[in-house]
Amino acid sequence: MKLPETIRAAFVIARRDFTATVLSKTFLFFLLGPLFPIALGFIFGGIGAQVERNAAPATVAVVSSRADFDLLNAARNRLSPLGTDRPLVALHRVDPEPDPAAQRQRLLTSADEPVLGVLEGSLFAPHFTGAVTADGRTVQQMKLFVEEARRHQLMPLTPGLPVEVTLTRTSSGSVAFARNLTARAGQTILFVLTILLAGMLLSQLIEEKSNKVIEVLAAAVPVDAIFLGKLFAMLAMSLVGITVWTSAGAAAIAIWSQGGLGSLPPPAVGWPAFLFFILLYFSMSYLLIGATFLGIGAQASTVREVQTLSMPVTMSQVVLFGLASLGVGRPNSAEAIGAAIFPLSSPFAMVARAAEQAALWPHLLALIWQVLWVALILRLASAIFRRSVLKSGPAWRWPWQRRKRSA
């Protein structure tokens, strides 16, 4: 059948599928679903920050003179910019008592002011006692504090000019790092969306097969058109969902994070082109993986079979994602180019490339290549469907079966 007729028929199928999905009540849940974890993320994010703020830093009791303690605490304050992820161990001075052993014991078991350990014996012969790891963070920090304090005790700060700082916008190291990050973010977005949305295509032909509509369809239009229509109907539905989610996401970022999108590292092709590529490569990835799923799902005759198939199919997506992420950071490596050539991982690999390299022509090439494969997979899927489900044409045989038959 001629191509325009196939496309016309596919449009009729797609229109039916799209309206049947979008106008159903369940579609509302579909739209709201991904917003639940985002909302939860905000709530728990808030709780987490609260917990973090409430937690006081670990403290060590220092049994020493005021002078020694001031030197130690000054040393701690000078070193504290290095402890960016977790604050350095806090110090708390206690006046020495006549019985050091009893005092140590009392401090270590005190419930009112819990401490990690006790430091005694002045800067000259310091001794740390505590329930910590021998070479752990606390012990190392205490050693550093003591060494720093001793240095200052002997040699006060020498005057001189402070380090002059000149800020450049980027350096090659920072750009590569940032683009790497954007590449991975792009791939992850693509992966999450595809894994969320493409699985639905597995069950797309179950309805027609169970209520026998397939006979009406197959008698009127080519099976190619049925597959094509179903694929694009689901893509359109997914894009409706993505539009809603990104709008909600963008609104959330605009409300909760000042300067939001601007603070993300810029991709090589620039933001507008990169967002366009994400949309384009999502569509391609959806069409490629979706066409494969449609073909696999079309072989299943019950919902049970589809459910059984969905796990291995999801795992294969994880493998594809892994394959594509091998090449991130090295866009010209064999891994990256291989992932771009292998049709099912090609959109993932290419979205990473868009973040890393400014050249646009490889994208044109990749898109043509991917479209070609969508057509090929659809043709193959519909041919297998006709052969094995509709039982059309001569039965397919393995070569050895052919020999047996002709013998």
Binding site: M1, V12, R15, I214, V216, A219, A220, R386, S392, P394
Partner: protein
């Protein structure tokens, strides 16, 4: 039949399913504007033949043409098809379902919706238009699907077991619809396992039994394969007149039944009168399609048709 153009033709269609032959060399010719019945017991291969002719499946070997096209799907816009297993989307409103079936075959959706309402109104069912299919009874859903089959005004309609599942009233309505379509110049092919429908409607029949076409041609031609049947009751039990009866004559409940000998009724009558048979009743009947079916397809196939072979649809 050479003077009429051919709407559909099958030549030596063969279909194997998993190594088992379902259809074994069926040939079929359907002239334009005719009503053709495909007759045979369940599982004889009727549906498979129709599916091959429509291009839903490809034959293992053999060829077919549909409205002059080698690839049947290219004629899809001019063909209507009611499958044996009816299928509609349960959530679709009736008018939408009818319009959708038209759209599949190239009718613009807006025009389809307009015609769907019109068709439903003509039958007094305008209240169905917005009701989802799932709220309809089986018979109602079948009516909707039938309307969807003719919505795009096809030149050829293929109906697979259209009468099954319908009550007597709706069967009559369907017969009328088939006659109306044929009167409007539409070619109709339908399959049935009920001989009475074929006998009442068809101009041509194909008798399919065990995957083979046992007969294909005009209904009259099928009947003329059999000689007229003589039913005779006599007062005399025996006599020289018995020699005039053919050897195959059978006596059932006091009535002789046999094929009219080739020499015709006159020598028979003369022998009966001269031999003092004492004729009580004598009738010479043209064989029905049912008798022809038994003669052509065999007793086994006739038995497979079950109670329906009585010539009346009991359901």
């Amino acid at each position: 039949m050479g003077e009429r153009a051919i709407a559909a033709e099958a030549r030596d269609l063969v279909k194997d399913f998993d190594g088992k032959r379902a259809v074994d060399g069926v040939s079929l010719t359907v002239p334009y504007g005719s009503i053709t019945g495909i007759l045979g017991p369940n599982g004889a291969g009727k549906t498979t033949c129709l599916r091959m002719m429509l291009g839903i499946i490809d034959p293992t070997s053999g060829s077919r043409t549909l409205l002059g096209r080698e690839r049947p799907l290219e004629a899809a816009r001019e063909v209507g098809y009611l499958p044996e297993e009816r299928g509609l989307y349960p959530a679709m409103p009736c008018a939408e379902a009818i319009a959708f079936m038209g759209a599949l075959r190239g009718l613009p959706i807006a025009e389809g919706r307009r015609r769907a309402i019109e068709l439903l109104r003509d039958r007094g069912h305008e209240d169905w238009a917005k009701r989802p299919i799932r709220t309809l009874s089986k018979g109602m859903a079948q009516t909707v699907q039938l309307l969807g089959t003719i919505i795009h005004r096809p030149k050829l309609i293929v109906l697979d077991e259209p009468f099954s599942g319908l009550d007597a009233l709706n069967q009559e309505k369907l017969e009328q619809l088939i006659r109306d379509q044929a009167a409007a110049g539409v070619t109709v092919i339908f399959s049935t396992h009920v001989i009475a429908h074929a006998e009442r409607l068809c101009e041509r029949v194909a008798i399919i039994a065990e995957g083979k076409a046992a007969f294909e041609g005009a209904v009259d031609e099928a009947r003329s394969k059999l000689r007229p049947i003589v039913h005779l009751r006599t007062r005399a039990e025996d006599g020289p007149w018995r020699a005039a009866l053919p050897e195959s004559a059978k006596k059932l409940g006091g009535e002789w039944r046999f094929e009219l000998p080739a020499s015709g009724p006159e020598p028979l009558l003369k022998a009966l009168i001269d031999g003092n048979a004492g004729i009580e009743t004598l009738s010479i009947e043209r064989p029905g399609l049912h008798d022809a079916f038994i003669a052509i397809a065999g007793e086994a196939a006739a038995r497979a048709m079950g109670h329906a072979t009585a010539g009346q649809e009991a359901a």
